[in-house]
Amino acid sequence: MSGNENLSENIEEYLEVLYKLGKGDHLVNTSQISGNLKIAPGSVTPMLKKLDKLGYVNYSPYKGAILTKTGLKKAKSVTRKHRLLEKFLHDILQIRKDKVHDQACDMEHTLSDDAERALCHLLERPDECPDDEELIPACDFSFKTCEECMERKNEEVEQVGTRKENLISIVDLKEHQTGKVLFIRGDYKVIRRLMDMGITLGAKLSMMKIAPFKGPVEIAVRGSHLALGRDIANNVFVEIIPEQVKEEDGATVHG
C-alpha cells in the first residue's frame, strides 16, 4: 500500500469520526477525536490542520474542528459506505455484530460508488446499521427516489451525477429547524403514504419535537402536525433552510 493511499484512508477515518461526533454542525475537540480513533492527542492537531488546508474542516486551535460543506459531503459518503458494509457483513455474510465494525473500516476505503449503489439495492435500501443502530445517510447520486435509481440501473453513477445539496435526514434536524424535502428513501408505498399526508418532494417542513429513546418525531408540514415513527423519519431527507430565508418567506411553515 502506498503512502498516498494510507493518507487518504487516514483522512476518511477522521472525516467519519468528525461526522459521527459533530454531524457537521458543531465543533469536535481534539481529545474526543483522539479517544475515538484511539491515537495520541498530539498527532490529531497536525492532521486537523492538514484537513483545514484541504478545505474539509474549519479548525480553531484549542477548540476543535467542524466539517465544512465539502467535508460533510465526503464524510457522509464514507460513513454511508461503512454502515452499508456493516449491514452487508452482518445480514448477508452473517458475521458477528462485534466483528463487523473493524472489518467494515478496512473495506470502506476501497468500495467504489457503483459497488455502494449495488449494495444498497441488495440490502433493499437499509436505513440503520446493525451494530449501533446509527442512521445510514442517503446516497449522493442525484436520484429523486429509490425507484428512479432502480429504473436507471443500467447507467453508472458517474453518468447520473451527484447531488448539489447536502441532504440531511429529518431525524438529525434540531427542534424548530426547517428543511425542504428533496429525497425520500424507500419503495413506492412509503413515499405514497408520506405524500398523502403532505410530505411531497419540495414541501417545507419544520421539526417540532423529537421523542427520546429513538421514538417518533413530530413535524409541522402544510399547517398540520404529524408524528412519524423513527423508521419512516429516517428516510425523509431535507436540505436545511436557514432561519433568515424562512422569515422572508413569511415565517410560516405552510408549504
Binding site: 413506492y188 403514504r193 427520546p212 421514538g215 399547517g223 408524528a227 405552510h254
Partner: protein, 657 residues
C-alpha cells in the same frame, strides 16, 4: 335539528342520501351525531372491519339518509377505510357528499377535497372548527374559497351546532338541483399542469370512445390509472385492457418529463393547487401560541411527557377499577336480590338451564358493563381530546419492542379492563398482522376478572406480595409472548404516521353517544355467549359430564400441577366466568379455603386460572375478528402457556415457600 322552522313549499317527499367525507379528526362524527341524534345505526362495512355509521334526519319535509364515511386523507389503496369510502361513492352514488374540512389545517384538507372533486360528484363543503382556527390566528374568507372551488361552502362550529342548519339547507338545495342531472359535474377549479391535464383529457376521451361505465367518473379513473392504482387497474383490466395499455404509455411520458414517478407528480400537483387555493383564501393574523400548544410542550416533553403519559394510563385504569368495582358491587346486589347465583343448584332441567343462563347473564351484567362503560367514557375523552395521540407518541419506541407501534398501546390498556372491547379496538391498527399480534398480547393482559382471581386466591390466602408478584409475572409473560409472537409472525411492521391535531375538550354528548354505540355492539356480541355458555356448562355439570372430564384431566391437574382432583371441574366452569373458579371452590370446601389447598396450590391455581383460555366471550370476539383458525391458535397457546408456567411453578414453589 328543528324541521318545522322553515316549511318547504315542496310537499312531495323525496329521499336523499348524503355522505360525510373528510380527514380524520375534523369533527365529522360530531356533525353526524348532531344531525342524526338517536336515529343512527353503527355496524360494519360488509366483510370489512371498518365501522359504518348511518342515520336518518328529517329536514324540511325530506327524509335524509346520512352516512358517515371513515376519516381518510386520500383515495389511495393503503387502508380499508380508503377503499371502502371510494367504492361507496362510486357504487352507491350518494346524492350529495358533504366534505368536512378542518379550518385550521386548510391546505392538507383541500388535498382531499381536490380528490373528491376529481370524482365529479355533487358536493357541499363544510369548513368546521372555525373557532380553533381563529384561536390560531387563521381567518378564512369563505366567499373567496367558494369562488375558487366552485362549490357551496358553509362555515361551522359543529361542537356548538353553529352553522349546521345552513349546511343542511345548502345540501338539500344541491341535492334537489342535481336530482335529475345524472351527468358528472365538471369542476373547472382543478386544473393541473398542462403536460398532465392534456394526458388526463386524452385518456378520458379514449374511455368515452369505449363507452366505459364502471361507476367512477372518467376523469377520476384516468388520474388513478396515471397514478398506477392497483385496484382501479384490476377493475378496468377485466373489460377494457386496451385502456390500461394506453394510459401506461402516457404515465411513462409524464415520468420522462419529470424524472419522478407519475403518482408523485400528481400528488405534488394536487398539493400545489391546494396550497394556492388555501393561500388565496386564508389570512394569517398574528400567530398566537395557544393553550393547546403550551399543554403540548408538557405532554411531549422528553421527561415530563413520560410522567403525564403514565398518569393518563394509570388514571384510566384506576378510574375503571374504582368505578367498575363500585358499579359491579351495586349490580351484583340488585341481581342477587332477584336470584342467587350459586352455580351448583340442582333440580329440573328447566331450573338448571335457567339458573345457568341467569348466571351467565349476571356475569355479563356485573363484569363487562360496570367496567366497560366507565372505561369507554374516559377513553372517548382521552381519544377525542387528542391526549391519546400524545401518549402514543411518547410510548412508540417501547411498543416497537413487541413489533407494534404507539397506537397499539390503546388496545393493550383496554385489556386491563376487559379483553373483549380491547380486542375490538385493535381495529385502529393498520394491518391484520398487527391486529393479531395486539390481540394475542391482550389475551394475556390481567383483565378485571383475572385481578379478582389473583386477589381472592393469593392475596387473601398467601400474601399480598405474592399477588403482586403474580401481576408482575403476568406482565413479563405478556412481554415474552409478545416477542415470541413476533418471531412466529415475522413481517414488516407498519410505521407510525399519525396526525397530532390540536388539543381540545370533547363535547359530552358525542362522548356519551360514542360510549353507548360501543357498549351496545359489545352487549350484542357478549350477552348471548354468556347466557348460552352459562346454561350449557351448568347442564354439563349437573349431568356429571364435567366431573367426568375433570377425571380425564387428572394427569394434568393432579400429577403435573399438583392440584386436588376437583381442580379440573373448577377450570372448566371458569371458562364461562373466571370467578366461578372461586365460587365453586367455596361450595366444595367452605369459606376457609386454606383447609383445602396449600399455599403452593393457591399460587398454581391462580397462575393457571389467570393464563388459560381467556374466557368464552374473548374467544367469541377472536373468532369474529380473525376467524376460527387464529382464535383456536391463540386459545391453544394460552392453554399451553398456562399449564407450562403453572407446572414450572408447581415444581419450584416447594423450594421457595
Amino acid at each position: 335539528m328543528d324541521n318545522e322552522e322553515k316549511p318547504s313549499n315542496n310537499v312531495h317527499e323525496s329521499d336523499f342520501t348524503i355522505a360525510l367525507a373528510g380527514n380524520a379528526n375534523v369533527g365529522k362524527s360530531v356533525i353526524f351525531n348532531h344531525l342524526t341524534g338517536s336515529q343512527q345505526t353503527v355496524g360494519n362495512w360488509p366483510g370489512k372491519t371498518v365501522e359504518r355509521a348511518e342515520g336518518k334526519l328529517r329536514f324540511e319535509d325530506h327524509d335524509l339518509h346520512i352516512i358517515d364515511l371513515p376519516g381518510i386523507y386520500s383515495f389511495s389503496t393503503f387502508s380499508m377505510e380508503e377503499i371502502v369510502s371510494r367504492e361507496y361513492i362510486a357504487e352507491e352514488n350518494p346524492d350529495v357528499v358533504i366534505n368536512v374540512i378542518d379550518a385550521s389545517v386548510l391546505e392538507r384538507n383541500l388535498f382531499f377535497t381536490i380528490q373528491l372533486m376529481e370524482m365529479e360528484i355533487p358536493m357541499v363543503i363544510c369548513i368546521n372548527q372555525m373557532d380553533i382556527a381563529k384561536q390560531k390566528g387563521i381567518v378564512i374568507d369563505t366567499k373567496k374559497l367558494e369562488k375558487a372551488l366552485g362549490i357551496p361552502i358553509v362555515p361551522t362550529v359543529a361542537i356548538r351546532g353553529e352553522g349546521l342548519k345552513k349546511l343542511m339547507e345548502k345540501t338539500l338545495e344541491m341535492g334537489k338541483n342535481q336530482e335529475n342531472n345524472k351527468n358528472p359535474i365538471k369542476y373547472t377549479a382543478i386544473e393541473y399542469g398542462s403536460e398532465i391535464e392534456k394526458r388526463i383529457k386524452s385518456i378520458e376521451k379514449f374511455m368515452a370512445s369505449k363507452n366505459m361505465n364502471l361507476g367512477y367518473s372518467h376523469k377520476w379513473m384516468a388520474i388513478k390509472l396515471l397514478e398506477n392504482d392497483p385496484e382501479i387497474k384490476k377493475l378496468i383490466h377485466e373489460e377494457y385492457p386496451e385502456v390500461i395499455q394506453y394510459s401506461y404509455q402516457l404515465a411513462l411520458e409524464i415520468e420522462e418529463i419529470h424524472q419522478e414517478p407519475a403518482f408523485a407528480v400528481i400528488a405534488s400537483e394536487r398539493y400545489t393547487l391546494a396550497s394556492r387555493i388555501a393561500a388565496g383564501a386564508q389570512l394569517h393574523t398574528d400567530i398566537k401560541i395557544t393553550l393547546s400548544e403550551k399543554l403540548d410542550n408538557v405532554l411531549t416533553h422528553p421527561f415530563l411527557g413520560y410522567i403525564t403519559s403514565a398518569t393518563i394510563i394509570l388514571g384510566l385504569l384506576l378510574w375503571t377499577f374504582l368505578i367498575g368495582d363500585f358499579l359491579s358491587g351495586i349490580l351484583t346486589n340488585i341481581l342477587g336480590f332477584f336470584q342467587p347465583t350459586d352455580p351448583l343448584l340442582s333440580g329440573s332441567i328447566i331450573t338448571i338451564l335457567w339458573n345457568g343462563a341467569f348466571g351467565g347473564f349476571v356475569a355479563c351484567v356485573t363484569l363487562i358493563i360496570p367496567f366497560v362503560v366507565p372505561f369507554y367514557i374516559l377513553l372517548s375523552y382521552i381519544e377525542n381530546s387528542g391526549l391519546l395521540t400524545r401518549v402514543a407518541f411518547m410510548m412508540d419506541s417501547f411498543m416497537h419492542k413487541i413489533g407494534l407501534h404507539g397506537k397499539a398501546l390503546i388496545p393493550l390498556i383496554l385489556g386491563y379492563g376487559c379483553s373483549v372491547p380491547a380486542i375490538d379496538s385493535t381495529r385502529i391498527l393498520e394491518s391484520r398482522r398487527e391486529r393479531i399480534l395486539a390481540a394475542f398480547a391482550i389475551t394475556f393482559a390481567p383483565c378485571s376478572a383475572r385481578t379478582i382471581i389473583i386477589l381472592s386466591l393469593v392475596a387473601i390466602f398467601v400474601s399480598i406480595w405474592w399477588a403482586l408478584a403474580l401481576y408482575v409475572l403476568d406482565l413479563v409473560i405478556i412481554f415474552i409472548m409478545g416477542k415470541l409472537a413476533l418471531k412466529a409472525m415475522p413481517g414488516e411492521s407498519t410505521s407510525l404516521i399519525m396526525e397530532m391535531h390540536s388539543l381540545r375538550l370533547p363535547e359530552a354528548s358525542s362522548v356519551l353517544k360514542q360510549t353507548w354505540n360501543r357498549t351496545k355492539s359489545l352487549i350484542y356480541l357478549v350477552l348471548p355467549i354468556f347466557i348460552a355458555g352459562g346454561a350449557i356448562i351448568q347442564v354439563l355439570y349437573v349431568l356429571g359430564v364435567l366431573n367426568y372430564i375433570g377425571i380425564l384431566l387428572t394427569p394434568l391437574t393432579v400429577y403435573w400441577l399438583g392440584l386436588p382432583a376437583f381442580a379440573g371441574v373448577l377450570l372448566l366452569l371458569g371458562i364461562v366466568r373466571k370467578e366461578f373458579i372461586i365460587l365453586t371452590l367455596v361450595s366444595f370446601v367452605g369459606t376457609d379455603l386454606s383447609k383445602a389447598l396449600t399455599p403452593e396450590q393457591f399460587i398454581v391455581l391462580a397462575i393457571v386460572g389467570m393464563l388459560y383460555i381467556p374466557c368464552l366471550s374473548t374467544v367469541g370476539i377472536l373468532v369474529k375478528e380473525f376467524g376460527a383458525k387464529v382464535a383456536s391458535i391463540i386459545t391453544a397457546t394460552n392453554l399451553a402457556t398456562a399449564f407450562l408456567v403453572g407446572g414450572i411453578f408447581a415444581y419450584i414453589l416447594p423450594f421457595i415457600l
